[in-house]
Symmetry: C3
Subunit: 161 residues, 3 copies
């Protein structure tokens, strides 16, 4: 095969506000340049995709409910990986981004979806952490590690964030 | 050279339970798909490979002994990168993995070795952190950054975890 | 295109002492093997490039001044990602590196510049965090994500650290 690979994949593992922003800046940038971009959300990265409202009446175990309660619900609730200061850091970061006309994470996610960035939620992580499809935003794909590896194989840029 | 590269390499730097699990899921998945997988363990990542018993009588400096004592010994002792809660988090995570029939990290490491995943301990990190070969599990390779870069060159998927 | 790609790129996001050391060991190793190496410093990674003296008289907002004060100034001030113990960890790490004749981070940065490693400061991150060019070391390039993606496209090894 001589054709150049045209994919960019990212494993979004961390789920901190700053790392999530970095991953969406790369994703939307690459998509705008015509690349096929796939973001694979796993472990804490799934928190980036959570809706901010509580989903009631789901069949979760006690432990899954606890985990679900303690983990942040969506882009507005994420912490910084450094200088978080109990939530002061993210507030400052968001203010400073706004001052410089940088889109918010929520806007970046929408932009990524408009640019056909493929956003995949890792089903094994969802099982382990007790997250249900109805807790996550719309427009996602659901798959496991084999699917990630197949996409990564077709990509020139592969990052773990 | 037209042949497709068939390698997958990972630098396992972090040594947290969750990131170690993610790296072994990718490693065993890629190996099962026929890829040549190399994991290069460096810095805190070396803790994933430590035996859980104390090795006595080695010629360590005071500082190396201190470092060795404070760092976790092997897969059962690793912390989570988030929501660790003094060890409660890892216990919950392990329970939730078991509930969903996900292998434990220890089992994943054995599986990786059965699948001929090449596990390399970074000798420079071992020197700096005062870790000796007899403290690490059997079946490892020992090498430095040049060896990592040579493998990475033959790989299509390169991750830093 | 049949020619083999000869680049190595790293996004240096984290800015912890240990991760910075790892990134410069890979960068100088790859450069010594004849690769075109580009390091793209973004978010906390920019702190690796800060001069250690305070720059006065710049036109920063109150919030930018606060951020600037709280973030570490250059390689001597960085924390460890683990076992930092309020600064004791980095001191021990530096001592243990010296004992084993491993170069200091500051020396590695100089070595990277001698080996023509291209060091790029992310201008969007600088804007958001209020960092000015005169606060960073000499010899840097300044660019955004599109420039990073173009380099990554020409690289076989792409890491996010």
């Amino acid at each position: 095969m001589e054709e150049t690979k045209n994919g960019t994949t990212m494993v979004v593992f961390d789920g901190d506000l700053d790392k999530a922003i970095a991953s969406f800046i790369i994703a939307t940038g690459a998509a705008a340049m015509g690349k096929n971009v796939t973001m694979f959300f796993t472990f804490w990265g799934l928190n980036v995709l959570r809706k901010d409202n509580v989903i009631s009446g789901s069949d979760k175990t006690m432990m899954e409910k606890m985990f679900g309660k303690m983990m942040p619900r969506g882009p507005e609730k994420l912490a910084l990986s450094k200088m978080n200061f109990g939530g002061m850091g993210p507030k400052m970061m968001k203010k400073m981004m706004k001052n410089h006309n940088v889109s918010s994470l929520k806007e970046m996610i929408e932009m990524a979806q408009d640019l056909d960035v493929k956003m995949v939620a890792c089903t094994m992580s969802m099982d382990v952490m007790g997250l249900k499809e109805e807790e996550l935003i719309d427009g996602l794909d659901y798959a496991g590690v084999a699917s990630y590896l197949a996409e990564a194989e077709e990509s020139n840029i592969n990052l773990f964030i």
